[in-house]
């Protein structure tokens, strides 16, 4: 009893209950985005691969969540190795050692008296892991229908460890927050010469990163059988729209939660996130109406996601009008960008490049044009300048571009190497007979739907259950 009450009193002056509650709720919102993504992607593939598509997202919750607890958190936010801003030490806080009792959000340098508003270290751990999970899951859309599931599972661990955690360290680890020294992009290290590139919630670390990785894997695995010839229509657009809705909902946690406090900044970011998504949907639909003649539901859902991607880095540094411009630009540019794969001949099946890489670049670069002191952060305390349109010159645009292209090239190269190594060792591409028959039955021994009369329920129980038991017994004997 005494221990408990001592802990409670010791805790009270340091953590802010409102901020802690918001960050924990936001973390749950962001986790919900990954099943949302599973719906969004799952509806876009053909009937024969819906389960595999959804499982590629689900498995990253299992694998990335596990490695996050073990070494991932420490690698992304632990004490910096050699103070270069390149990587956290994966062993210092292995297994979240020492993190649960820590409190973040105040500067110990301020004479040991913590400023108000701190959150428990474990709340920060919770909030950041869900970003890592969805970053990995996003890649899967580029290689729909054709990746061996075991290899994909191994890939999620390797990619998180070798690509995502380092990139998250560069972009999200602010010096003095979780550890003394943070990442070079966030803190203006390296060739940025003291000018921080700003990525509020993950335009570079997540969307450009996942988009470039998707392109690399699409090239390693090659095109689906029949790409560009067979109709590969989305099999269930209602799932796609449901998924886009869940993503939008969860994204308020993603962006407004990234304030890591419940206050004016989070609220302003919330409004900007809404504003950009609205115009992005309109932008995409207008392009479609003018070019193809119809407002499509897939276009509306895609516009929503493109807008969310683009406002992710920019949501804290642009005005609400700026957010409307970011969204409109992202929606209309991405509506054109998704056609690139047919022209360039790579099979980025569900347009991870066209939506996430391009949308991420749009948002990250537009900060260089639209960053304003009238934004949610007011640029206060940030090592950055106003954007070009507000008289800040080209400097911030250059810094943003340097960060974006560094992450893009790093991600593409390392992902290509990982993918290539897996293809040569475990084999990454599914056998073509299995691909033809459908990856759901080949890799998971399941089918997504049981809607027909002939093979469902009591009408078509062709001796199956007994056969299945028999099969198990045989395996045990063997």
């Amino acid at each position: 009893m005494t221990t408990l009450s001592t802990l409670a009193t010791a805790d009270t002056p340091f953590t802010d209950s409102g901020n802690t509650a918001w960050v924990l709720a936001a973390a749950a919102l962001v986790l919900f985005m990954t099943p949302g993504l599973a719906f969004f992607y799952g509806g876009m593939v053909r009937t024969k691969s819906v389960l595999n598509m959804m499982m590629m997202s689900f498995i990253s919750m299992g694998t990335v969540g596990t490695v996050w607890v073990l070494w991932g958190y420490s690698e992304a936010f632990g004490p910096d190795l050699g103070d270069k801003g390149l990587l956290g030490n994966p062993f210092k806080e292995f297994g979240l050692h020492g993190v649960l009792s820590a409190i973040y959000g105040y500067t110990p340098a301020s004479g040991g008296t913590p400023a108000a508003g701190g959150i428990p270290g474990s709340a920060f751990v919770a909030f950041q892991v869900v970003f890592a999970i969805i970053a990995v899951a996003l890649i899967s859309g580029a290689i729909a229908d054709r990746a061996k599931f075991t290899t994909w599972t191994v890939f999620t661990v390797l990619w998180a460890t070798l690509v995502y955690f380092p990139a998250a360290h560069w972009v999200f680890a602010f010096s003095g927050y979780a550890a003394k020294t943070g990442g070079w992009i966030a803190n203006g290290g390296g060739f940025l010469h003291g000018h921080g590139a700003y990525d509020f919630a993950g335009g570079t670390a997540i969307h450009i990163n996942a988009g470039a990785a998707g392109l690399a894997l699409a090239l390693v695995l090659g095109k689906r059988i029949g790409f560009g010839k067979d109709p590969m229509r989305p099999h269930n657009l209602t799932l796609v729209m449901l998924g886009a809705g869940i993503l939008w909902f969860g994204w308020f946690g993603f962006n407004a939660g990234s304030a890591l406090a419940a206050g004016t900044q989070a609220a302003g970011v919330w409004v900007n996130t809404l504003a950009a998504t609205c115009t992005a949907m309109l932008g995409w639909l207008i392009v479609e109406k003018l070019r193809d003649g119809h407002f499509t539901s897939l276009g509306a859902a895609s516009g929503v996601v493109a807008g969310l991607v683009a406002i992710t880095p920019a949501c804290a540094t642009v005005t609400p009008i700026g957010a409307l411009i970011v969204g409109l630009a992202a929606g209309s540019i991405c509506a054109f960008a998704v056609g690139l794969k047919f022209k360039l001949g790579f099979d980025d099946s569900l347009d991870v490049v066209g939506v996430h890489l391009v949308g991420g670049l749009v948002g990250t670069l537009l900060i260089g044009l639209l960053a304003s002191v009238n934004s949610p952060t007011g640029l206060a305390g940030l090592k950055m300048q106003e954007g070009l349109f507000y008289g800040g010159g080209f400097l911030q645009l250059g810094v943003q571009a340097a960060a974006a292209f560094t992450v893009m090239i790093f991600s593409f190269v390392v992902t290509y190497i990982i993918g290539f190594a897996l293809e040569k060792t475990m084999g990454f591409r599914l056998h073509e007979d299995d691909e033809d028959a459908g990856i759901d039955s080949a890799e998971h021994a399941e089918t997504g739907y049981d809607l027909g009369n002939l093979f469902s329920g009591r009408m078509g129980a062709h001796g199956s259950l007994q056969d299945a038991r028999h099969h198990d017994e045989e395996e045990v004997k063997a």
Partner: protein, 112 residues
């Protein structure tokens, strides 16, 4: 006996069924089908990529009738299923050698 098979627009099924019942037909078999005739398919656009969908959804109605009713049943179906626009479907008749009612073993016209 004759087998009358009709391929019709799906939304015309209820009218065809009611017309056949009004004529006195006691049963029918209906299945979902797809295909194309002069109507051809249609195109759909997904993220700017245009796909041609060749097969249009249709409903297939099958009725077995006595020889003397065949002509009138065809007329009843055609009248009920017609919209006058392309894609209304087809109706055809073929001879049937025998029919057996599974429950009783009755054969021929008594099995209808």
């Amino acid at each position: 006996m004759k087998l009358v098979t009709a391929i019709i627009k799906p939304f015309k099924l209820d009218e065809v069924k009611e017309a056949l019942e009004a004529y006195g037909i006691a049963g029918m078999t209906v299945s979902e089908s797809s295909g194309y005739g002069r109507q051809r398919g249609h195109s759909e656009v997904y993220r700017g990529a245009e796909y041609t969908v060749d097969f249009v959804p249709k409903v297939r109605v099958e009725v077995i009738v006595e020889d003397m009713d065949a002509g009138s049943v065809v007329d009843v179906i055609v009248k009920a299923a017609q919209t006058g626009r392309i894609g209304d479907g087809k109706v055809w008749t073929v001879p049937v050698e025998d029919v057996v009612r599974v429950r009783t073993g009755e054969k021929g016209a008594t099995a209808l």
